[in-house]
């Protein structure tokens, strides 16, 4: 196996809070709760942690500028090397990637990786906090919103492959159903395809039940170098591949039907992990699903199936927990909730628990040895991918 990093890095503990709209806890408190849980599971104390990486999305959600500094105490960063990373919605999976290079480089033996989001602080709706991400000359004067641009992408994807809304709705049904077994889930629900199709139209073809909710929450992992991990646990989960990539910000100049940048990030991670045939070698995947169509879009970008093939696999039950290629057994962002950075990190935690066989009712049926987590963000242009093995 080709090893790019100097040292092998393991996840040895993970923790998370409930995902809810309007949690009483502050962002700092959420970080602390999840960090304490992850440290307890790793059998470490804060003094054993050599560096901290924080991942959190726009400052405008919490309404606190320089959020990294605001959250530092809760993340256990006092008097430690500390940095915040931010790549939009891709942050949640990029944060453990940044933690990985802290340890793989040989600079640190342990690293605490913390992801937080508190979206419900922003009134009347956090959607408005996104206004300033758009180009001030070309886009903002038109009154652009975030859902507009995702609806444009979803519609283009449906048009190119001739995909029906009924097929896409199955993702929402599956993920909300999976979330019934997740103790932190915000929107676990038993719904039908008809419920999705009958839900309020927000921005055609996006309807109410196609979208993940506004959430607060935190998720944390403890990373350790190989020699430390082997002392602390018999079940380390190795980070064997990482990849990240951004495409042009001129999003109206790209064909939105396919996320090429996700493919680039995946190729980088697969190469590092020595994976030649992703659908055969990946046992379980947590792909980014803030909208139901994104799960399908990302399965294709990750080369877990051919272009346009993801809806059929979903219909055939291949992506269910007991299927050949379980996708989002946690319940995903659609079911567990979407506190942006914490949601991506939740996916990494889920793969950790799945590969350790600790996922309880959510455990996938097949013997899962290799897992993948992926997040997506910025102006439909950023992909972050991590490959883990037990």
């Amino acid at each position: 196996m080709e090893m790019f990093g100097k040292r092998r890095v393991a996840v040895i503990g993970a923790g998370m809070t409930l995902f809810r709209r309007n949690l009483k806890e502050t962002g700092k408190e959420l970080c602390w709760e999840a960090a304490k849980m992850a440290l307890d599971q790793a059998g470490l104390e804060l003094k054993d942690i050599e560096a901290v990486v924080m991942g959190t999305a726009p400052d405008a959600f919490d309404g606190v500028h320089m959020k990294g500094e605001y959250l530092a105490d809760g993340a256990g960063a006092r008097k430690k090397p500390y940095m915040r990373v931010f790549v939009g919605g891709g942050t949640g999976v990029f944060t453990p990637i940044a933690g990985w290079w802290h340890v793989a480089s040989g600079m640190f033996d342990t690293c605490l990786v913390v992801a937080e989001e508190k979206m419900s602080s922003c009134f009347p709706h956090p959607a408005y906090a996104f206004h300033t991400i758009f180009d001030p000359i070309m886009a903002r004067p038109l009154g652009v919103t975030l859902i507009w641009i995702f609806a444009l992408e979803m519609h283009r994807y449906m048009h190119v492959h001739g995909i029906k809304k009924e097929q896409i709705a199955r993702v929402a049904v599956k993920n909300k159903q999976n979330a019934l077994d997740h103790p932190c889930a915000q929107l676990p629900q038993k719904i039908t395809v008809e419920d999705v199709l009958n839900s309020e139209v927000l921005c055609w073809p996006v309807q109410r039940l196609d979208i993940s909710p506004t959430s607060d929450g935190a998720a944390v992992a403890v990373l350790a170098a190989e020699h430390v991990a082997k002392q602390l646990t018999d079940n380390p989960v190795w980070i064997d591949g990482v990849g990240w990539c951004i495409d042009s910000t001129y999003w109206t100049n790209r064909d939105l039907y396919y996320p090429k940048y996700v493919e680039c990030a995946a190729r980088m991670a697969y190469k590092m992990a020595g994976i030649k045939n992703p659908p055969k070698e990946i046992d379980v995947a947590e792909v980014y699903d803030p909208f139901d169509y994104k799960e399908l879009h990302h399965m294709e970008g990750l080369m877990l199936c051919r272009k346009g093939e993801a809806p059929r696999l979903t219909e055939e039950g291949v992506t269910q927990r007991d299927g050949d290629l379980p996708i989002n057994p946690s319940g995903g962002l659609l079911g567990v909730g979407n506190p942006i950075a914490a949601a991506g990190m939740m996916k990494v935690c889920e793969i950790f628990w799945q590969l350790r066989g600790e996922a309880g009712k959510r455990q996938v049926k097949k013997d899962a040895r290799t897992g993948l987590a992926q997040a997506w963000g910025d102006l439909m242009q950023y992909g972050s991918v991590i490959i883990m093995r037990s």
């Binding site: 949690l23 599971q41 000359i137 886009a139 038109l142 652009v144 507009w148 283009r156 055609w204 889920e350």
Partner: protein, 173 residues
Amino acid sequence: MSEKIKEYPGHRIKTADLRAGLVPLIRYKPEAKFAFSAGAAMSRFLEELKNGRILASVCKKCGRIMVPPRTFCEICFKPVDDYTYVKDTGKINTYSVSFIAADASRVKEPTIVAVIELDGASPGMGILHKIGEIDWKEVKFGMRVKAVWKPPEQREGAITDIKYFKPLKEGEE
């Protein structure tokens, strides 16, 4: 969620408490105002909108005619070679029908938004704009559209100098 962990932290605020104002709410309007530099290419683009023309830039290395125009080609990473005009007609690459405003509040009359590939630009070179003079149920992929401009005296050098794009009938240019 590991099955080894029995309880997960977090307490939800009751909706009644939120409504009763028991949660500290800071209303704050930032005094920060921004004057955005449009840059050399986009300043010309905005000036030309006043004349009812759409400016594009040309990179002779990759051969692309780019809208919106830019001073450098992000692929070849060199200055663009020239500027040209593209037509104010094109076709719908993708579209959406929005029933919400920017703050997620609901609107009565939906807005049709689209990525429009302009004639004369390289294939796939689109801009974001609105579609008008058509019922939203009638909009189609690949539909030919044309810009509807504000009257010259009302133009101010903004993307909104084009009010929207309207469908072209067969044979119309």
